[in-house]
Every structure is written in structure tokens, then in C-alpha cells.
Amino acid sequence: MTRAVHRRMLPLLLMTSVLLTGCWDRVEIDQRGFVVGVGIDEPDKKEGEKQGSNIQDHDTQSQDKQSGVSSKQTFKVLYQIVMPAGLSTNKSDGSSEGDKAYFNMSVEENAMATSMAKLSQRLSRAPFFEHLKVIIISESIARKPQKFAEAIDFFLRESQMRRSTRVMVTRDKAGNILNTHPPDQKLPAQYLEELSDNTKESSRILPESRIGDVHEFLLKHKSFAIQGVMNGNRNYSTVTEAAVFNGTSNQMVGFLNSKETAGLNFMEGHVKGGQIKFTFEDRLGVFSIERVSRKLDCTFGRDNLPSFIFHIEVEGSVDEVFHAPDTLKEPAISAMETGVQKEIVKLMESTANKLQHEYNCDVMGLREYLFHNHYRWFKQHENQWEEEGKLFSTRPVQMDVKVSVRRSGNINLTED
């Protein structure tokens, strides 16, 4: 070939290389199966197909009895997949009322990636995880040693995964949680995600537990708490629990109920709003939190061991008082302030008590504080903190709460 022909061929070659190599991972957006929620349960013992590492799905229930060893490791993974057509609001035909915007499909496997592979065998649309909102893990999985980390490994490692996916633990079946949503929300996963953000409305919701943060905690061997979700009924769930994980074994040790969660929020300084019910002079009142500042201090005693004190300052307004005296008068205000203050101290003490003596998990940030402010001491006693010596559970923790009522409401008296 002559030079001229070469020169003429060059653009052609370039074009072919572009056109042949380009477009290979082009997927239409309507060909994606958007997975928005994942629920991880233990497989049901009685029914449902159960198989080992065998990917081939024979859909028979006869063979599952033999694979005893593998069935012990198996997860039952529930995928929530969006049906976009069900979401669109302006449907011309009247049948849109009954349209579901999602469907759940459960797969039993002993690894997440293979469960996803099995899912894609069943779906015409390839599962797509970039819009994954929540991962719900049932208590039974989280309580087993290492199981928790195994369960979320895939959701951290796979390249589609986002580190802002929420992780929650439930006492219930994860599958049940992913079926509840109020009538105004069409996607349970989205509902849960938005629900878990409501920290401004309630002091009993932990700050959202992103999978990236959880990963960090696991690597640091730090005890941590993540949101626990409870199934109320078909129409709603609540996220007012906290699941406490032990930092050394990375397994769940128990739940904090909603009041204890509020106490934990106060200790960590995560409270952004919410109400506190208090009593003063046999009257019931509700205090609404507006601003909270938290400071942790520690003093070393003669035995060279620290004792802690939480300084909490709470500001807010009185939302509701029954049979109140004039709420503009000084004695009434200070009485209410002490009422609220006692209530908060009670919340925090019950939390501290449970964490120190029942769970022995330092979720409230004492270890962090020592690590940051008394590193040399911390290095010497690191191993005795939660383990062996159990320093954590014996350290005295004091609560110093100051409450100021900024507003007593629009009126001073309801009835005269």
C-alpha cells in the first residue's frame, strides 16, 4: 500500500476503534432494576428453598435438608426493586390507585454477590445498586460473631455502592420492615431513609448511620450504635431504637430503647430537637429542645483513673403545660427548668447505666475523649478499657445539666 492509501485508511481505523470500543457499557435507564433497599435475614428454617453454594436454582425443596453446614451460613436477602411506572404521578388511566411502586424479591445464598447474581437470573432488568438507600439487618444476623461485617462487606466493596447508604438493625424480620410504608410514600426504602433523617423532630432518633461510618467504626474497633428500626404495623415503622455493637467482637450486644437512645444522643451531643415530657409540682409539661451544647470533662483521681462529667446545656421553649401557674413568673420558670433538668439527667443516667453495666460498650464517647485528650494514659490502659480490667464499666460518670427556658410560649395562662 502506498502512503496515500495509508493516510486515507487512518481515519477509518480511528472511526472503527471508536465505534467498536465505545458504547459497550451503555444501558438504558429504563432497563435498570433500581435496588433501593436490602433486607438481610436468617433463612426460615421450615419453608422456602434453601441451598448451598450451588448457583443453579433447581427450585426444589427436597435437596435442602442435606446441606446442613452451608445452611448455617446462609443469608436470606430481600431486594426491594423500584417499578418506576408505579411512581409516576400523572397517570391518565384510573387504575393508578392500586399500582405498587416496588416489589420485593428474596434470595437465599451464603454470599451477597452470588445472591445478586441469582437475583439477576430472575429479573429481566439488571439489578443496579447506585440508588441503594437502606440496608436492614435483622438482629439474629447482627448478634452472630463476624456475621455483621460479612453481611455488609459486599455493600462496601462493590464498585456501584455508595458510602452514604443507611444501615439499620431490626428486632423484627428485615423483610417485614421493607414492606411497611405510610400511604403517602410509595417506596418503603425511601420512607425509611427520610424517616431516619428526622433528628430535628425527635431526640430519640440517632443520627443516620451511613455504611461508610459503620465501616470506619469496624476498622477502629470502636464500640458503636446504629439506628434500630421497629415495625409498628403495615403503615409505619419507627427508628427510635439504637443497636449497640461491641467494638472488639464487632457483634451486636443489644438494643437501647427509645428513652435510652435519647440519653445517648444527649451524651454524644447529637440532639437537634425534640420534646421532653416533665413534671413539676404534679403538673405535666412538655419542653421542646431548641439548642443543646455538650462538653465532656474528666479528672484523674489519686488512683490515676479518670472520672467523667458531662456538661450539657439545653435551651428551648415550653410547648405545653397542664394547669400551669403564670409561666412568665420567675418561680414557675425555674421550677420547670429543674423539672426538665431532672428528666434529662434521668435519661442519661439510665443510658450510662445500661451501657456500663449491662453491655459494657463505650458508645458514649469516653474512649474517644481519652484518645484525643489523654493519649499517653489511653495507650497504657487501652486493653483494659472495655476488656480485661473493665475500666469503662467502673468509671464514675456524672451528669451536669443546665436547662434554660427561652420562651414560655405565646400565652402565660390557659385559664384563670
Binding site: 465505545g22 451503555r26 438504558e28 435507564i29 447506585e130 440508588h131 425511601q190
Partner: protein
């Protein structure tokens, strides 16, 4: 003297005999029916003739100011007898006397004498009249241009809310007058060129001496003098002939219908080229920022115009990238959309038979088709095309399930954004580039969009307009020129002409505070 139908050689000078002259003109023009010849005898008896082209020349002027004057007036001090005494020879003195007498008698302002046949012919063909007098050496050329021309109207392609309503017309004289009316500077220069082997069009280079960089003017003159073509086809051929990079889709010379735009450019130190026969006049050199600037920016408050310019910059980017981004996001990067948007887009695309690429190309091509059709149609039907295109096709395509509603939104926004670009020529380039970016996006996704962007940028920084870098105050950084770039500072701060133009006179205003001493 009769010439017996023999073809005449072109003489260097007019003949002494009027009849010879007329015969020569008739012969060289092929006796067209629009050639008007009026022969008459002057008061003294000399034979004379006026030649002009009907339709181009103002017959009233010729009749009232030339013929009637020459016929009536008498009292010449030169007589024919004097001449005969001088041995029948047509001597210089006599000829000069005759000329002086003739020209004196004409109460005309626009009059000159010429003895060059080329000049005479061109003058006749461009609408003036030629007066031949028996035995006179030179021909009197009378400015009698007076053809039917369009009145000054509002520019069709560049209308403004606030600003002058006059636009250029096809008539060069009117156009120069429009500029002259805005700049009464004695240094305003109009230099004439005659371009076109056959069309012999008048082209005027306008600049302000003392502001403009003389090297720029010389270069413009040099490039114009190289033009050798039958007809420069309006200003388009001139623009394409003298621009620096003819391979580039980006216009390197600005064309405008607005005299205020040209006047403003001249005062900045640019050069204008006015071409006869077209309302589109040229401004050069320009930078890419010129396309997002509109004269309105200077008529309005500086905050408003800064925001509007920013809006136009955004319009450029939207018109350029939106369909490409739509393709890239829908075909490759589904995770980049917010979840709710992703689901709703996926929902609306449910049941659409085409991939997003095909859908986008289909709709964009339809849009371009509609726009092209709208240009061709008469104005009254043009309205219909808008309705048919916008409503019927868009709506019908969605209900028929051929395209998704989101696509219609994308196409509509793109179209509106491209209409917001002040320069039509630049908007066309953007339209073209949009398709390139769509191809890049459909092959490589966002990566392709970025690649296309980089290629475009490399191309842009390599462009020059008459030696001025195309991306000027940005790419060779001239911070002082940023005062009038994307934002426009208050008038008092625009104290200097663009630095990149390297003008002779750099300052254009003096603040009052600096002249405190003067009363």
C-alpha cells in the same frame, strides 16, 4: 462621425465628438433598454448629451439641474467663432474654457470631471450621469444616484428592548451615514474599495484614526486587496476570504445589522467593513466574548447587564451540552441523578421504543428541521410552524409514545437557550457543536463530553481573529479587560479601551474627580 458598425477600440480618453462617445457607450453596454441618452444643444449651440441608467439615476435631478440649466443659460464669453479662428484646432484653452463654463452653469453639489473611460463607465453603471459636450476633453460626471431603496427599519435579526431602532440597509451611503451620525469625530475614516471583477461592489473600511492600531488597518487593507472574485456575495464572501482560519466552524468576524454595534466597536478600536448591497456589516477583530455581548448591555444598568450576560453564558452552555448530558446520564451514569429524578425519568421512559440516543437525535433533528422550515416560510405562515412544531409534534410524539416527556423538555430548553445567544452566526456554530457533543456522549458518556469539550477548547485557544487571540482576555490573561467581559462594571470604571486591541489611544474617559482644579 459615423462608425459604420465597426467595433470601436476602447480609447483612453473620451472622443471629441458626442456622437462617437454615445456610440461607444451603446456598443460596450450592448444598447440595453435601461440606458437613457438625452442629446440636446446648449444655449450656445454646442451639442451635448446626458447618459445615465434608468432606475439607478434620479431623473428629476438630471432634468432640473442639468438639462434645463444648460439649455436656458446663455452669455458665454467663449464662442464658436473664436474657436474657428484658431485654425480649426481644438486648443486647450478653448476646452478648458468650455469646461469651466459648463461646470459653472450647473448648480450641482456632487460633480466631478473625468477623462478615464473605465471610470466613466463604472460611474454610469453605478447610477450617476455622464455629461458629454462636443469638443470638451473631459466628461462631467454628475452625482445623480437615486434608486429605490428600502427605508431604514428595525433590524430583523437583532432586536432590542432598549436601544436605537434603526438598522443598516442595503445602501452603502445610508449605512455610512448611520455611522457618521453616531460618531462626529473628524478622525472617523471611510476608505473605499471596489471589489468584484464583475460586480464592482463598493466596500468601505471604517475605523477611527488615532484609536485603532494602524497595523490592524494595514492588515485589513492588505487582505481586502487580495480579494479577486466575480462577486463577493454580500459580506459573506468577504468575511470568509479574509478570516484567519477558514476550517473552523467558529465565526472570526462578527456580522451585525446594528449601526450602534459597529459604532461602539469602532470606538473600542476595532475596524468595520461596510459592504454595499447587504445590511450585514462586519466587525473585526473579535473575541469569543463578543458573541455573548449585546449593545443593550451598555444601555442598561450595569448590574442588570452583568446578570444578563451571565445568563447568556449559561445559555451557551445549555445549548451546547444539555442534550449531550441527557444522553450521557440516561445511557451511562444512572447513579448521577438524584434518586427521585432517576426513578421518574425511568418511569417516563417506560414504553419508549428507542434508546435515549436515537430519541435525542430524532428530536434534535426535528427541531433543526422546524427551525429551517420556519426561516423559509413567509412570516404569516411562520407562526403556524411554531404552533405545529411546538405543540402538535411535541405533544403528539409523547402521547404516541415515541419520545418521553423529559426529552421534549430537554429539546425545548435547548432551543430556547440557543435563541438567547445574541449572535445568530455563533448560535449556528453552537447548534453544530451540539451534535458533535451528542455523538461523543453517545459513544463515551460523560467521558466523551469532557473529551469533546477539551478538543473544542484546544481549537478555540488556537484561533485568532486578525492576530488577536480568540479567547483573548481569558486565555492570554488580561485582567483589565475583564471589566467588560462576563460582567460589566459601572461606566465610570470602564476607563480604558480593550487592552488586547493595543489601541493608540487607551483611555476613553476621565473621571471628574481627577480634574478638580478646573472649574
Amino acid at each position: 462621425m459615423e462608425h459604420n458598425g465597426q467595433p470601436l477600440e476602447q480609447p483612453s480618453k473620451p472622443f471629441a465628438s458626442v456622437n462617437d462617445n454615445l456610440a461607444f457607450i451603446k456598443q460596450s453596454l450592448g444598447s440595453p433598454n435601461d440606458l437613457l441618452i438625452r442629446t440636446f444643444r446648449m444655449a450656445e449651440g454646442e451639442k451635448a448629451a446626458v447618459v445615465c441608467i434608468e432606475g439607478l439615476a434620479d431623473k428629476q435631478v438630471i432634468q432640473n439641474q442639468v438639462i434645463s440649466q444648460l439649455i436656458q443659460v446663455s452669455g458665454s464669453h467663449f464662442t464658436r467663432t473664436e474657436r474657428t479662428e484658431n485654425t480649426g484646432q481644438m486648443d486647450d484653452e478653448y476646452s478648458r474654457g468650455l469646461e469651466a463654463q459648463t461646470t459653472e452653469q450647473l448648480s450641482l453639489q456632487d460633480m466631478r470631471r473625468s477623462s478615464d473611460w473605465d471610470d466613466i463607465m463604472l460611474t454610469i453603471l453605478s447610477g450617476d450621469a455622464a455629461l458629454f459636450v462636443e469638443d470638451m476633453e473631459e466628461t462631467v460626471l454628475i452625482g445623480s444616484k437615486g434608486w429605490k431603496s428600502r427605508a431604514i427599519e428595525e433590524p430583523q435579526t437583532e432586536s432590542l428592548i432598549r436601544g436605537p431602532r434603526d438598522g443598516f440597509t442595503e445602501d452603502l451611503r445610508t449605512n455610512t451615514a448611520l455611522i457618521r451620525r453616531r460618531i462626529r469625530d473628524p478622525h472617523l475614516r471611510f476608505e473605499s474599495y471596489c471589489i468584484g471583477r464583475r460586480s464592482r461592489k463598493d466596500v468601505t473600511v471604517a475605523y477611527i484614526d488615532g484609536i485603532v492600531n494602524p497595523m490592524l488597518v494595514n492588515e485589513v487593507k492588505r487582505r481586502i486587496s487580495t480579494i479577486d472574485i466575480d462577486d463577493p456575495e454580500g459580506s459573506g464572501f468577504i468575511e470568509q476570504w479574509i478570516q484567519d482560519h477558514y476550517w473552523s466552524p467558529f465565526p472570526q468576524i462578527l456580522n451585525t445589522e446594528r449601526p450602534d454595534k459597529v459604532a461602539g466597536a469602532l470606538l473600542q478600536g476595532r475596524v468595520g467593513i461596510l459592504v454595499d448591497g447587504t445590511p450585514f456589516q462586519l466587525i473585526l477583530p473579535i473575541t469569543i466574548a463578543s458573541f455573548i455581548q449585546s449593545p443593550e448591555d451598555y444601555y442598561q444598568n450595569w448590574i442588570l447587564s452583568s446578570v444578563l450576560r451571565l445568563l447568556r453564558v449559561m445559555a451557551v452552555f445549555v445549548a451546547l451540552f444539555l442534550p449531550g448530558m441527557y444522553i450521557a446520564v440516561l445511557e451511562y451514569h444512572h447513579g448521577m441523578l438524584p434518586s427521585k429524578l432517576a426513578f421518574s425519568v425511568a418511569g417516563t421512559r417506560e414504553g419508549v421504543p428507542f434508546p435515549a440516543v436515537v430519541e435525542t437525535f430524532l428530536m434534535e433533528a426535528t427541531l433543526e428541521l422546524l427551525r429551517e422550515a420556519g426561516v423559509r416560510l413567509p412570516k404569516s405562515i411562520g407562526q403556524t410552524i411554531g404552533v405545529v412544531g411546538g405543540l402538535v409534534i411535541g405533544e403528539a410524539a409523547v402521547t404516541a409514545g415515541i419520545v418521553s416527556p423529559v426529552m421534549v423538555v430537554v429539546v425545548a430548553v435547548t432551543a430556547i437557550a440557543s435563541f438567547a445567544i445574541p449572535s445568530y452566526g455563533f448560535a449556528i456554530t453552537i447548534r453544530l457543536m451540539r451534535f458533535l457533543i451528542m455523538i461523543a456522549a453517545s459513544v463515551f458518556g460523560l467521558y466523551g463530553v469532557v473529551l469533546a469539550m477539551i478538543v473544542t477548547c484546544i481549537h478555540l485557544v488556537n484561533l485568532r481573529s486578525f492576530g488577536i487571540p480568540y479567547t483573548a482576555p481569558l486565555a492570554p490573561l488580561r485582567l483589565s479587560d475583564w471589566r467588560d467581559l462576563i460582567y460589566r462594571l459601572p461606566v465610570i470604571r470602564l476607563s480604558h479601551r480593550p487592552e488586547i486591541l493595543e489601541t493608540m489611544d487607551t483611555k476613553r474617559l476621565t473621571k471628574k474627580s481627577k480634574r478638580k482644579g478646573t472649574p
